[in-house]
């Protein structure tokens, strides 16, 4: 008889294994710009949104910290990258690193405020932190441009060679490459002991300290990493659009992000990406008809998800797969 920890290890290794639908997914991302040659800018926005959503998936889906203020990091990353490009250096990769450092710092600073509270308190604190940053960016217009947004960002060529083009082709490959690297990192993190500890904290916060897990430290690190990922996403948006607006910090953006994550399904990383794709495409199509309708459908969708489909698209898909699979093998 195998000891139970061995069985658990086998299960974990199985979960960690790279599966064929994943290859299909990323191949589709590689093929997409050739299928849609005129929409590279749009595709790059989807990749950035996917990256932003991954940050919430780490914080909320894996670590279970209810955050409705992820825009704080997104905006800070965007403004940092933009200001860095204007005042210091236009190199995009250097800009990403600076934005990442700044946002993870914010994460480390803000985390202690969160640790004491429970769900609702945490949620409100994240809202308040994002609100403070929003107001700061709004009032400090000498530096941030206030309501007009941060303009005049000039980004140097990638690696000193590849110029960003107007059609967004370089922007897409750049964003996709960053997204893929971050994704690999998070995928690794999720099945590492660290990621498993986070899942444990989410599922049973009382028990983890008893097992010797330093809960506060784990959550702080998770929140900081989540912040850094959101900051990278914001920096990418600033670099590829050469513009940062107050909207990047708004409550609306945080709420939208949460919608995207629950739409896709939280906690499995692909839900975040799938949600970002479906959301962006739906937004694109419906906004063309009328922007007001868009908000109506988004709200309705949220209500329906909460009432009927708690695990989102990826949950629905895997249930469908189980259903078909069982249906196929049933005698």
């Amino acid at each position: 008889m195998t000891p139970s920890w061995e069985a658990a290890a086998v299960r974990l290794r199985e979960r960690e294994r790279w599966k064929s639908p994943e290859t299909v997914f990323w191949c589709a991302a590689l093929v997409a710009p050739f299928v849609l040659p005129d929409d590279h800018l749009f595709l790059s926005q989807i990749a950035i949104l996917g990256l932003f959503c991954l940050s919430l998936d780490l914080v909320l889906g894996i670590a279970g910290i209810l955050s409705l203020g992820q825009a704080a990091f997104f905006g800070l990353g965007g403004y940092t990258a933009g200001l860095f490009a204007i005042h210091v250096d236009g190199d995009p990769l250097l800009g990403l690193v600076v934005a990442m450092v700044a946002t993870s710092l914010l994460g480390v600073l803000a985390a202690p405020l969160l640790l004491g509270g429970r769900d609702l308190t945490r949620l409100l604190i994240t809202v308040a932190v994002a609100g403070i940053l929003y107001e700061a960016a709004n009032k400090w217009s000498a530096v941030t441009g206030g309501v007009d947004g941060l303009q005049g960002i000039v980004i140097a060529p990638l690696f000193g060679k590849i110029e960003f083009d107007l059609g967004g082709t370089v922007a897409y490959w750049y964003a996709l490459a960053v997204l893929f690297l971050v994704f690999l990192g998070l995928r690794r993190l999720k099945s590492s002991p660290f990621g498993l500890a986070l899942a444990g904290i989410r599922l049973n916060p009382q028990r983890m300290p008893a097992l010797g897990v330093p809960v506060d430290r784990r959550l702080t690190v998770a929140y900081a990493i989540g912040g850094a990922v959101a900051g990278i996403a914001g920096a990418l948006l600033a670099q590829t659009t050469q513009f940062v607006s107050l909207d990047a910090l708004s409550f609306h953006r945080s709420a939208e992000l949460m919608l995207i994550l629950v739409l896709g399904g939280a906690g499995n990383l692909y839900g975040a990406l799938l949600g970002a794709i479906v959301f962006s495409v739906a937004h694109h199509l419906l906004s063309e008809i009328n922007p007001m309708y868009w908000q109506f459908w988004m709200g309705t969708l949220l209500i329906l998800i909460v009432l009927f489909a708690k695990d989102g698209l990826t949950g629905g898909l895997s249930r469908l797969r189980d259903h078909l699979w069982k249906g196929g093998t049933a005698p």
Partner: protein, 286 residues
């Protein structure tokens, strides 16, 4: 002095609108961020009645309160009820969804401009008392809010309904066992909260400005009121609303550069200070 008076009037509006949130959160453990949407509903109904159909102001107030009451009760029966046992995150998602829907509906029917209810003659101008002139609209607001606060406090602490509500919250199963109709009590409580929000919305168009984003614009204020006052406490909400109103108006008057900064910092400070005390006052259904 007038500034403080303005602040108190703003605080009273905040109280009317957020007391519903306080009750649903504190007594029913439901995070109803869409409370502002009910206020917006009341505001738009009021605008429609007074400006388009020429209904007298007080009648319109009553009707818009009634309208929010009915809509609140209907939504509670159809939707909210299913989520009482769900997590706070589901509450937030659901009510944010409601906010989005209400914003787009308001914009669809009324356009995105700011609407204002025309005040009747007796609420324009000023009242002279103790040698100081009081704006009569704001005085009216304050009187109404104080009356409602007193009534609510009394209902909750010393009537049979209040006792049943507290029993239903403390232990729904036992409450059902002794013959209290828990579902009905929750519906009524929720509907009354929505109605008060609607009344606040209709009364407040002059001070708060009514446009489609109303439902989301003041959410932070309502939340701070509830947090500071302690969820479920009428007296707490009342005092918190008043201090926030004064704080906000005075702050904006003397240091306009800070703007909403003050409010967010205040919210953060209160949250962190009370992070362990943010529990429903009478014990929730968790």
């Amino acid at each position: 002095m007038t500034i403080v008076f303005d602040g108190i009037a703003l605080g009273m509006l905040l109280f009317l609108i957020s007391v519903g949130l306080s009750v649903t959160l504190g007594l029913m453990n439901f995070v109803n961020l869409a409370n502002g949407a009910f206020a917006m509903l009341g505001g738009y109904v009021g605008v429609l009645l007074v400006n388009r159909w020429g209904v007298p102001f007080l009648g319109a107030l009553a009707l818009s309160t009634l309208c929010s009451l009915v809509v609140g009760a209907t939504l509670e029966r159809l939707l909210y009820r299913r989520l009482y046992a769900a997590s706070h995150m589901d509450h937030v998602l659901f009510t944010v969804g409601l906010i989005f829907v209400s914003i787009s509906l308001a914009a669809y029917f009324f356009g995105s401009g700011v609407q204002v209810i025309e005040l009747p003659a007796f609420l324009q101008g000023r009242i002279e008392a103790f040698g100081v002139g009081f704006d009569s609209y704001r005085s009216f607001l304050i009187v109404v809010a104080i009356a409602i606060a007193a009534a609510l406090q009394r209902i909750l602490t010393s009537t049979r309904f209040g006792a049943s509500l507290r029993a239903a919250v403390d232990n729904p199963r036992t409450a059902r066992g002794v013959g209290i109709e828990v579902d009905r009590i929750f519906t009524i409580t929720f509907a009354v909260g929505s109605a008060l929000a609607g009344l606040g919305g209709a009364l407040g168009t002059q001070m708060l400005g009514l446009d489609p984003v109303f439902a989301i614009k003041y959410v932070v204020y309502f939340l701070i009121v509830v947090i500071m006052g302690g969820p479920g406490s009428i007296r707490g909400s009342f005092l918190a609303s008043m201090s926030i109103g004064v704080f906000d108006v005075v702050g904006k008057y003397y240091v306009p550069e800070l703007g909403a900064f003050v409010i967010y910092v205040l919210m953060l400070a209160v949250l962190v200070a009370r992070s362990r005390g943010l529990l429903p006052k009478f014990g929730g259904r968790s």
